[in-house]
Every structure is written in structure tokens, then in C-alpha cells.
Amino acid sequence: MPEWVMAIIKILIVLAFIGLNGMFLIWAERKVAGFIQARIGPARVGRPQGFFQLFADAIKMFSKEDVRPAAADKWVWWFAPVVFFTPVAMAFLVLPFGPNVIGLDMNIGLIYLAAVASFALLGVFMAGWGSNNKYSLLGAMRAGAQMISYEIPLILATIGVIMITGTLSTQGIVEYQVAHGWNIKTQFLAFVVFFIAMLAELNRTPFDLVIAESELTSGFFTEYSGIRWGMFMFAEYTNIFVMSALAVTLFFGGWASPFGLVGSVLIFLIKTYAIVFLIIWIRWSVPRVRIDQLMTLGWKFLLPLSLFNIVFTGLILLI
């Protein structure tokens, strides 16, 4: 089979996974939220647990009218979901699903991920500006401040892991953990910083100021509807998956099994969805912080902590 056919097949697999995973996570979020809130969540379509709700949602999203505000900045508005969605899909290239299941084992895997993640910000800006809506604009401004502030501790937190494992390749990091045990043991502080910064990067509660439905209605995607809104949703939930997978890769041994069994894709997915559950659980348990508190936490708490972690790790490695 020629290489480009393989490439297209791989792309299709990733897109299918993004679609299914996005729908599944939306369903799972509604279900977990329901159970936490003494409700049962979706239960009508596909009884008893409403599993086919996700297909109903998808069909609804595809068939809804795509409304464009008259005063929107047409092309910017139009491109924003694409710009927001593409980097998320690109991140799948370097996620190590299993011993041999990886798109491309790049030697700059982590930097690639960071670069790709930082690009999503542009999509948020474009959506916020292009909608020509004040709520959207405020949401985009908040998104900018938040994502820039939290990207720094997020990347700095991974540096400890990089220093220990000595590689930027995601597969390499997992292989190191297979040999030496999970990084969480030595890099707990980094994990805490990474996790908090990750929540902020994902715009999840308690850092969901960008969406902040009680203040800004829906932030930067207030004006979107139909499949365009769906793309934001898919990108967001896929992002949750990507970030959780990254956390698993960095700190929880990736596809390595904890009991000495053979590592596999399944174990990787189980670990990732455990982190996803944690994120969902946190969302339905805590209130939202305010923008100044968010900045304070990011710059005055997480940044020094991640720097301290780097220095500390360096000292340990030196000794």
C-alpha cells in the first residue's frame, strides 16, 4: 500500500476517534453530572442509560441551522471553529496509545504538543472577535489572558519530567517509565501544577471563565450554532482527552500496566478516561474563580512552584 493511502487511513481513524470520543465524552459528562446531581441524566434515547443520546445529539447538531450574525466578521467568524479544531486533531499525531500505536514518534513530541496547543488560542480569538458580540469579546480576552498565563506553568511542569527521562519524545518518556517506574513518584509537585494548569488550559471549572455561563452566556462561542458550535464542542472534549492522555503519558506510565502485565492500548485508554472522569468530577463540585484570582494563582503560585520543581529536580539529578 502506498504511503499516502496509509496516511489517509490514519487520518480517517483519528477523525473517527475524535468524533466518537467527543460524543462519548459529552454523553459521559451529562451522565456523570446527572448522577452527581441526584438526577439520572439522559435516559430516553437508548434505554436504560440513554447511550444513543450521543447520536441524537450529533444528528441534531448536523441538522441545525448554521446562523451567522449579520454584523459578524464573516471570514474570521467562519474560520474560527476550523482553527480551533485543527490543532486538537493534530495533537493525536504524537500521543502514544500503545507500544507501537503512535502516529509519529517525533523526537520533539512534547514541544510539538505545546506548539499545537498554543495555536488553539488563535481560534478562540477569531471566534470572539468575529462574532462581533461583547460577551464573546470579553470571553476571548479572558481566554487570551488565561491561556497565556497557564501555558507557562504547564510547560514548565513538564520540564521536570523531561529532565528525568532525558527525552522529548512521548514514546521515549513512556519507555523510561516502563523501565524505572511511574514519574508520579518523583514528580508529584509537577503533576499538581500540571493538573491545575491543564484545567485552566481546557477552560474547565473552576477555571471556566472563558465560557462562564452565568456571566458571559457562553463566552466566545455564544453566537455559534449547529455544526459550527458542534466543532467547538468536539474540539473542547477532544482537548480534554488529549490533555488527559498527556498527563497519563507524562506521569502515569502511559500504556505501561501497573501490575507487570503487558501494556496495551486498553490500559492507556482506561488511565486516560480515569483522568477524564476526575476532570468531570471536579467540574461538578466546585464554583468558578474570578479573573484576578485566576491570574494570582497562575503567576504567584503555580509559576514559582513549577520553577522550584525544576530547580529541585535539577539538584537531585546533580547529586
Binding site: 446531581q37 470579553l138 455561563e213 452565568s214 464554583p287 468558578r288 474570578r290
Partner: protein
């Protein structure tokens, strides 16, 4: 020229760049249909102006065409979270005006229902305040308890919200058998399981404390000057509760505390409500112990044509619900003036919102807890 354009021009004259943001009337967190025109500088509010009246339905004029007893179902719809308290306020005023006697047992039932309604209303306020802060789960917990309480209401009044239960000279029907046990069970659960859960889940949460402590401070002087009422007044450290200071009905027979907090911030107002629920539970327990047997309806004169005017007030969940009645010896009221606590509470919003973040004005509206059925009437 619309008012927004006028404001924009004004902002341009000054040479500052200001963003005029319209919060509401269709906004997920403005309780009901409140529109606040805010002027922003970055995320800070420099000016906020509430625009009300979207729910206006002419209550005070409508009832001038209705007989004295027909008004009662409509009072339910003023503050639709404190129905019994509203009915009680109106009925008390008419009874005073016409000199109607009320049997003992009916008084006790009225007090029990009023206090239960206060608990229901505060449960909802707990939930909506949490939701304004972005925590969705406490909102549904609050609603769940309130729904259970409404089940209890339904057993007595036959309706979940618009009870139409209090009547001139008494209440519509007696309590069903075994109802008191259900209420006491609910109160026990509320005090022992539910409220501790609320504390763990929301009130002790560091984010909650960071968002509410020291934010939206209302000083004592301002609270008095703006005619604040209820938990907002008591949250600013003013020890004033009509149930104790101007006892109506039979409130002088109960032993309860008036909750006050000195700080005057969001947290204080919120905690006043939380503690008031427990005080209400105390009153209900005492009422069940003291309640005599007997009829629940007294004699209403066949022809009800009171004359004169009267002001009478009760302490609702949101503060003083005052009713001013004028009767001209007809079977209809000549004039009804409704003093709605939410209305005067909402008037403080521009003062409190100045200098706040956008995120905090939502919380401020949440702690002021206006109900628009009552603000707009």
C-alpha cells in the same frame, strides 16, 4: 437616540473607552427578567443601571376591581417563592381593617407554613447563588430539598407553588393526619444531613470563600438609607426583624434568634440565610408543640365592606412585605399598595456594583436575590 447610543457618546466625550454591556433581560443568570446596563472599563464596572418592569402586570390596579377575598390567589404571584408569606401579609391587613377574629390553630398553621416557605425560599437562594458562582451541583441539591418541601406543601394546600391557602379568618383546610411528623422528619434531615453537606460542598470551599468574603460590601448606613430589608439588612449588621420587633400573628410566643452578621459582604448575607433556615426550623418545632386543637376557620362576615386605611407588614424571606390598604366601605379594596422587599433591595445594586468585576455583579444580584414577580408587580 437610544439610551445606549447616548451613553456611548457620553463616554466618547470624556475620552475614555468604555464598553456598554447589556446584561439581560434574556441572560442566563439575571434572576428573572432583569436588565442591567453596565458600563465597563476592562472587566470593571463603572456604572450599572438596573432596568426593570419586564414582568409588570399591574397587580395593584387589577385588585381594585376584585373583591377582598379574590385578591388572595394573586398575592401568591408577587413573590412566587414566598407564597404563604405574601398571602399572610395581605390577609393580616384585611383582617386588621375589618376586625376579623382568627382561631388559635389557624394562627399556628399560618406560622408553620410561613416558616416552611421561608426555608424553601432560602434553599432556592442557596442554589441560585451557587450557580451564579458557576457551581451547578449545589443548585440542584438546593432544588431537590425544595421539591421535597413542596411535596409537603402539596399535601396540605393542594398545590406546589400557588397555594391560595390562607383565608380571611383562618386557613382553607386543616392539616392532614401525620403531616407534622413528615415536616419534623424533613427538618431533622435538613439540619443533620443536608446543611452539613452544603457546608462541605460549597460554603467551606476555598473558591467560594475567595469569591464571597469581602466582596460587595454594603455598609450599615447605606443599608438603612436605601431601605434594605430582610437578610440584606441583617447581613449588614442591623438587628431588625419584624417577627421580633413588631410581632404580628403569634410570633411573640416563640423563642428564636435574629441572625445578624457585621461584615455586610456576600458571605454575610449568604450565611444569614443559611442560619435563618435553622431558626425557622426552631420556630416550626415550637409551633407544633404549642399548637392547640380547634377550628381553623373563624367567622367571616357575609358582607365584607371595611372602611379606613391600614398598613401591615410581615417578615418575608426577602424582608418586609408591607401591605397598605384603603377601603371605602365597598366590597372591593379602594387602593392596595404593595411594599415589595425585592424592589428596595434591588435599588442598592448600582451602588454596590460600582467598581466590581463583571463576575461579581452577577453574585451581587444573587445575594440581593430579587424576585421579579415582586419587583415589577
Amino acid at each position: 437616540m437610544s439610551e445606549i447610543e447616548a451613553r456611548r457618546l457620553k463616554a466618547e466625550e470624556v475620552g475614555h473607552e468604555k464598553l456598554i454591556l447589556n446584561l439581560g433581560p434574556q441572560h442566563p443568570s439575571t434572576h428573572g427578567v432583569l436588565r442591567v446596563i453596565t458600563t465597563l472599563e476592562g472587566e470593571r464596572i463603572t456604572e450599572a443601571e438596573p432596568d426593570i418592569g419586564f414582568l409588570h402586570r399591574n397587580f395593584e390596579k387589577i385588585v381594585e376591581g376584585w373583591t377582598w377575598s379574590q385578591v388572595i390567589p394573586l398575592t401568591d404571584r408577587n413573590d412566587y417563592l414566598a407564597n404563604i408569606n405574601n398571602e399572610h401579609a395581605y390577609v393580616l391587613a384585611v383582617e386588621k381593617l375589618a376586625g376579623i377574629e382568627v382561631p388559635e390553630r389557624a394562627e399556628y398553621i399560618r406560622v408553620i407554613m410561613s416558616e416552611l416557605n421561608r426555608i424553601a425560599s432560602h434553599l432556592l437562594t442557596f442554589g441560585t447563588f451557587a450557580m451564579d458562582m458557576g457551581a451547578f451541583t449545589p443548585f440542584l441539591y438546593g432544588f431537590r430539598e425544595r421539591e421535597l418541601l413542596y411535596d409537603i406543601f402539596e399535601k396540605v394546600t393542594g398545590a406546589r407553588m400557588m397555594h391560595n391557602y390562607v383565608r380571611l379568618s383562618g386557613v382553607r383546610n386543616d392539616l392532614p393526619d401525620g403531616w407534622d411528623k413528615e415536616v419534623l422528619e424533613f427538618l431533622d434531615r435538613l439540619e443533620n444531613d443536608v446543611i452539613p453537606d452544603y457546608y462541605d460542598l460549597l460554603i467551606k470551599n476555598p473558591i467560594f470563600e475567595a469569591r464571597s468574603l469581602g466582596v460587595g460590601v454594603l455598609t450599615k448606613e447605606d443599608a438603612i438609607a436605601y431601605g434594605a430589608a430582610g437578610p440584606i439588612l441583617r447581613g449588614s449588621g442591623i438587628d431588625w426583624d419584624l417577627r421580633r420587633d413588631m410581632p404580628y400573628s403569634i410570633y411573640d410566643r416563640f423563642d428564636f434568634e435574629v441572625i445578624t452578621r457585621e461584615e455586610g459582604d456576600h458571605y454575610a448575607r449568604f450565611m444569614v440565610r443559611m442560619d435563618e433556615m435553622i431558626e425557622s426550623a426552631k420556630i416550626i418545632r415550637q409551633a407544633f408543640e404549642q399548637m392547640p386543637e380547634g377550628p381553623v376557620m373563624g367567622k367571616v362576615p357575609r358582607v365584607l365592606k371595611p372602611e379606613g386605611d391600614i398598613y401591615s407588614a410581615v417578615e418575608g424571606p426577602r424582608g418586609e412585605i408591607g401591605v397598605y390598604l384603603v377601603g371605602d366601605g365597598n366590597f372591593k379594596p379602594y387602593r392596595v399598595k404593595w411594599r415589595a422587599p425585592s424592589f428596595s433591595n434591588l435599588s442598592i445594586l448600582p451602588l454596590m456594583a460600582k467598581g466590581q468585576f463583571v463576575a461579581d455583579i452577577v453574585l451581587t444580584i444573587g445575594t440581593l436575590d430579587p424576585i421579579f414577580g415582586e419587583v415589577d408587580r
